[in-house]
C-alpha cells in the first residue's frame, strides 16, 4: 500500500461521490435520530473539498489533508463538521513529512484522526457515533500486516450496521434514548462511505 497525492485526491473524490449519491439517505438517517441535516451538511462539505482541492497543485499528502480539514471545518457545521475537521487535521499532522504514505504512515494518520475525534467529542466507543466506525477500522489497520481493500469495507460496514443496536449517549441522537435503538447513526454511515471510498482507492492501486 502506497498512497500518493493523486490517490488521496481520488479518495476524497470517491467519498464525495458516495456522499452526494446518499445525501438523502444520510439526511433520512438523521431524521430518525437527529435533526435532518447530516446529508445536507456532508454534501455541502465534501462538494467544496473536491471543488477546491482540484484547483491546487499539491506536493504532499499532508497538505491535501490539511486543506480538507479546514474546508470541512468551515463548511459542514453541526457536530460532524468540527469532528471530521479535527480528524483530517490530525491525520494531516500525523503524516507530515511522509510522501507517499505507506500502510504504517496511513495507520498512524488514522489513529491520530480517531484520537482527535474522541478528544473533541469527548466520546468513546459504544456511544453510537462515528467513533464506532473509526475505531474498528483503525484497529484493523493496526493489526493487519497486509491491508485488504475488501476487508476495510467489510470492517467499516459491519461497524456501521452495528450502530443500530446501540443506544446513543453522545450527540443529538442521545436525546432519543431507547428510541435511538434500531437506527444506523448518520455519522457512522458517512464514515462508512469514507472508508468504502478508501478501499476502492486501495484496490485501484493494488
Amino acid at each position: 500500500m502506497e498512497l500518493h497525492v493523486k490517490d488521496i485526491i481520488q479518495w476524497l473524490e470517491k467519498t464525495n461521490e458516495k456522499i452526494q449519491l446518499n445525501k438523502d439517505y444520510l439526511t433520512a438517517l438523521d431524521q430518525a435520530v437527529g435533526d435532518s441535516d447530516h446529508g445536507i451538511n456532508m454534501s455541502r462539505g465534501f462538494h467544496e473539498v473536491v471543488n477546491q482541492v482540484k484547483t491546487k497543485d499539491y506536493t504532499t499528502v499532508s497538505d491535501v489533508l490539511k486543506d480538507t480539514a479546514m474546508i470541512l471545518m468551515s463548511k459542514v457545521g453541526g457536530a460532524s463538521g468540527p469532528l471530521f475537521g479535527t480528524a483530517f487535521l490530525r491525520f494531516s499532522m500525523g503524516v507530515k513529512g511522509i510522501d507517499p504514505i505507506n500502510q504504517d504512515a496511513f495507520t498512524k494518520g488514522l489513529e491520530d484522526a480517531l484520537a482527535g475525534i474522541m478528544q473533541r467529542g469527548k466520546a468513546t466507543t459504544g456511544e453510537k457515533t462515528m467513533v464506532d466506525v473509526w475505531s474498528p477500522v483503525v484497529n484493523y489497520f493496526k493489526v493487519t500486516t497486509n491491508v485488504q481493500a475488501d476487508e476495510v469495507t467489510q470492517t467499516a460496514k459491519q461497524a456501521m450496521e452495528q450502530t443500530k443496536e446501540i443506544m446513543a449517549t453522545k450527540g443529538r441522537a442521545s436525546y432519543f434514548k431507547e428510541k435511538s435503538i434500531g437506527h444506523i447513526d448518520p455519522g457512522a454511515a458517512s464514515s462508512f462511505y469514507i472508508f468504502e471510498a478508501l478501499s476502492e482507492v486501495i484496490k485501484g492501486e493494488g
Partner: protein, 331 residues
C-alpha cells in the same frame, strides 16, 4: 413542502440580505460571512456579546442583535451550528478591548464549533469567555447524558447579559450574571406538528392527527412522551409542573414567564396557555414580575409552544427591564 423561498440551499443568505435590508442602520453583515453585528460594532470599552446557532429559530439569534442585547449573532445553515471560522470572525468584529462573551446553547455541534472559535480567538490574544445555556428540563441532567438542551430561555440570557454588558461590566461580571440566569432558568416545550428543513424537503418527524409530543426539542429531537392532544390547560399544567419540580422556587418569589410559540401556533393559543400558566403560578404564591408571550425561539413552522420561567432577584429585574433596541426585543 410549501415554503416561500428561492433556492433551498440559499435560504440563509437570502434571509440575511432581507434582514440587512430591513435594518440598514441598525445591523450589518460581516463581509463574506453569515454573521450579523450591530452597526456600531465593535463598541470600545464594552464586552462584546456573541451568540448564534443554526438558523430556523428566528427571531433567534440575529433578531436579538442591538444595543442592550447582543453585539453579534452567527447564523448557521438551517438547524446546523455555524462553523468556527464564522464565529471567529464575529468575535474579532465585536472585540472592543474588554473581551468577548459567548452565549452557547448546549448542543454538541454548537459547543464544539463555538469552543473551536474560542481557541482561535484566544490564540490571537482576544480574551473570550462563555456560558452554556441548558434550560430544557425535558432532558435529564445527569452525568450519563450530554445534558440539557438550550431552548427559549436563551433569550433571557441574551437580554440580561446584554444589559449588564451595556452598562460597562467586565467579562467576569458578564459571565457571573449570565451563569446566574442559566442557573435560574428552566423551560419545556411541546409540539403538535413537525417542521421541514428546506434543503431536506420532508418533515423531520411525524405525529398522528390526534397526537402531540411533550418535551420536544427545537430541532424536532425526541421529547418525553407522545400522547393524544389534551386541552391547553392540561398542556400548560404539564409544562409548568415539570419546570417547577426542577426549580427551587418558594412562595413569594418572583419570576419572569415566557410563553413561546414554535412557529405556527397562533398568538391566540399562546395567550390561552398563558392564562393557565399565570393561574398555576399565582395559586402557588409565586409572583409574576413580567410576562413575554410571542415567538422568541422558533423551530421553523413547527406547531407548539414552550414555557420558560426565570427566577428573579433585584439585580435580574433591573437588567431585564433595561432598554433593548434589538429588532426582536424592544422594551
Amino acid at each position: 413542502m410549501k415554503k416561500i423561498m428561492n433556492d433551498p440551499n440559499r435560504v440563509v443568505q437570502d434571509m440575511l440580505a432581507g434582514m440587512i435590508a430591513a435594518y440598514p442602520n441598525e445591523l450589518k453583515q460581516i463581509p463574506a460571512t453569515t454573521a450579523i453585528t450591530r452597526s456600531e460594532a465593535p463598541v470600545s470599552g464594552k464586552v462584546g456579546l456573541v451568540s448564534g446557532g443554526g438558523s430556523g429559530h428566528e427571531p433567534a439569534h440575529a433578531g436579538y442583535v442591538g444595543k442592550g442585547m447582543l453585539d453579534a449573532a452567527v447564523v448557521g445553515e438551517v438547524f446546523t451550528s455555524p462553523t468556527p471560522d464564522q464565529i471567529y470572525e464575529a468575535i474579532k468584529a465585536v472585540d472592543g478591548g474588554k473581551g468577548v462573551f459567548l452565549i452557547i446553547k448546549n448542543y454538541t455541534g454548537d459547543v464544539l464549533n463555538f469552543e473551536m472559535a474560542m481557541e482561535l480567538a484566544e490564540a490571537e490574544g482576544i480574551q473570550v469567555d462563555k456560558v452554556i445555556v441548558n434550560d430544557d428540563v425535558a432532558v435529564e441532567d445527569s452525568s450519563f447524558t450530554i445534558g440539557r438542551r438550550g431552548i427559549a430561555g436563551t433569550v433571557f440570557v441574551h437580554k440580561i447579559a446584554g444589559a449588564i454588558a451595556e452598562q460597562g461590566a467586565t467579562l467576569e461580571e458578564v459571565k457571573t450574571v449570565a451563569e446566574k440566569v442559566v442557573n435560574q432558568t428552566r423551560s419545556m416545550g411541546m409540539a403538535l406538528t413537525p417542521c421541514t428543513v428546506p434543503a431536506a424537503g420532508k418533515p423531520s418527524f411525524h405525529l398522528e392527527e390526534n397526537e402531540m409530543e411533550i418535551g420536544i426539542g427545537i430541532h424536532g429531537e425526541a421529547g418525553i412522551e407522545r400522547k393524544p392532544i389534551t386541552t391547553a390547560d392540561e398542556i400548560a399544567s404539564e409544562l409548568t409542573e415539570k419546570i417547577l419540580t426542577d426549580m427551587d422556587l418558594n412562595n413569594n418569589e418572583e419570576v419572569a414567564v415566557m410563553v413561546n410559540g414554535l412557529g405556527s401556533t397562533p398568538e391566540m393559543e399562546l395567550y390561552i396557555v398563558n392564562k393557565k400558566v399565570n393561574q398555576l403560578l399565582t395559586e402557588k404564591g409565586i409572583h409574576i414580575y413580567k410576562t413575554f408571550v410571542g415567538e422568541y425561539m422558533t423551530a421553523l413552522e413547527m406547531t407548539g409552544c414552550s414555557v420558560t420561567l426565570l427566577k428573579l432577584d433585584d439585580e435580574l429585574k433591573t437588567l431585564l427591564d433595561a432598554t433593548s433596541e434589538a429588532p426582536a426585543f424592544r422594551n
